[in-house]
């Protein structure tokens, strides 16, 4: 299975709590990643286009606020499964290192 890149992962993670529009996704991704992931608009819409194409997210509605176009996106069931699978893979990968570090001896310097 192809691993997910970090911006893709946090874009999906940002949508876990419900539909969001572009700007809200960037803010939410920054929050859930503890400020590590700061999505640019170019990266965000590349990710959204690909995720839409793969059916992992779907458009949830459109509106105009203060004269600005907004489109809302939501996680699809397959998007949720893909996110869970990736989270599991990352957790497994982290567990390997964490469990090994607790038993491994400090390397000689």
């Amino acid at each position: 299975m192809q691993t997910m890149r970090e911006p893709t992962y946090f874009t999906l993670a940002a949508l876990l709590d419900g539909p969001l529009h572009g700007y809200a996704i960037t803010k939410r991704a920054e929050t859930v990643s503890d400020g590590r992931v700061r999505l640019t608009a170019g990266t965000l819409y590349s990710a959204l286009d690909r995720l839409l194409g793969q059916g992992l997210v779907a458009v949830d509605g459109e509106e105009v606020v203060d004269g600005r176009a907004r489109r809302y996106y939501r996680l699809t069931p397959s998007g949720r499964r893909a996110l869970e699978a990736e989270a599991g893979r990352l957790a497994d990968a982290a567990a390997v290192v964490v469990s090994h570090m607790s038993t491994a001896t400090e390397p000689a310097t």
Binding site: P7, G22, T40, T43, S46, A69, R70
Partner: protein, 319 residues
């Protein structure tokens, strides 16, 4: 409109027009919300837009797959070679008319004299006009028509060399010529046959309708003409703009890898064409420089195509 919005609108031009129409207002609205009414544009945002836009263009042309990358890279190489031929032919024709004689206008100044009247004139006009027809067919996605015209171009040269030796004033290929003269004609034949070969490969690699290309490509001869005329003023002045174009080409190829394939497809026939001249007259610095450049370009583009192709997620970058 703030300076930032103007800059972002300019950066959005990197995207295909259809995408811009569909997504542009939404992206601009998101940027406005992200950066408020900041007067100064964010270079990071503008750079990301350009990168994503160029990648989107590549994806639209290639369909986002490796097969598309090779097929459309070959088709683009054919288009560029045909436009090079058209430029060279037009120059040759202009030169000949100016000096009151008529020659076979062939790429990059390749030349075999023919008689002015009758079939000679028809062949010269055909050689000058046909590359345009083939290039236009590629831009309109009519690959088969382009292949047919490209084959006629190859046949014209082959017919000129083999069939009309002596009668039309052509130099004949074979005995009576030095190996270098034969190599020169073989190189020219390779150059002229390359578009047909590339289009055939493109058609075999990717069935179905070919991608349409911007008619803006047809402006390439005008750019080459300006560079060529500038070279009369100062020979080395050509290399800076050409170098810049090639550098930009490779930078963009990082996100649209079919450009690296196209560069390879152009560089090899150019090398075949120029190398005999460079070997035969080492003091002819221009030919030596072009041959060296083509060799470097071929090598670099092959490495790029192989490096970018199999391991890069072709559909969208940085995601």
């Amino acid at each position: 409109m703030t300076a930032a919005e103007r800059a972002y609108r300019l950066a959005l031009r990197a995207y295909p027009a259809d995408y811009r129409r569909e997504r542009g207002p939404e992206i601009l609205a998101t940027l406005a919300e992200m950066h408020g009414d900041a007067g100064r544009p964010s270079l990071r945002e503008a750079g990301a837009l350009i990168q994503a836009g160029l990648a989107e263009r590549g994806r639209v042309v290639t369909g986002g797959g490796r097969t598309g990358m090779w097929a459309e890279g070959c088709a683009l190489a054919a288009l560029l070679l045909l436009l090079l031929t058209a430029t060279g032919a037009a120059f040759q024709l202009g030169w000949d008319v100016w000096y009151g004689r008529l020659g076979m206008g062939w790429p990059l100044g390749g030349f075999s004299p023919v008689q002015l009247e009758g079939a000679g004139l028809a062949r010269v006009l055909a050689a000058t006009l046909l590359p345009w027809a083939a290039a236009l067919a590629i831009c309109r996605g009519r690959r088969l028509a382009a292949l047919a015209v490209a084959l006629v171009i190859s046949a014209l040269y082959a017919g000129g060399v083999v069939g009309f030796a002596g009668a039309g004033g052509y130099q004949s290929w074979g005995s009576g010529q030095t190996w270098l003269e034969n190599a020169y004609q073989l190189g020219t034949a390779t150059f002229l046959a390359a578009p047909a070969a590339l289009l055939w490969v493109a058609g075999r690699a990717r069935r179905g309708p070919a991608a349409h290309r911007s008619l803006g490509w047809l402006a390439l001869p005008a750019i080459l003409t300006i560079l060529h005329l500038a070279s009369y003023w100062e020979t080395t002045v050509v290399f800076w703009p050409l170098g810049t174009i090639l550098l930009a080409w490779f930078l963009v190829a990082r996100w649209s890898p079919h450009l690296a394939v196209a560069a390879f497809g152009v560089a090899v026939p150019v090398l075949a064409f120029v190398l005999p001249t460079a070997l035969g007259a080492p003091e002819y610095e221009y030919a030596v420089a072009v041959a060296s450049g083509a060799a470097v370009l071929a090598l670099a583009s092959l490495i790029s195509a192989l490096a970018f192709g199999p391991d890069t997620e072709l559909d969208r970058p940085s995601v």
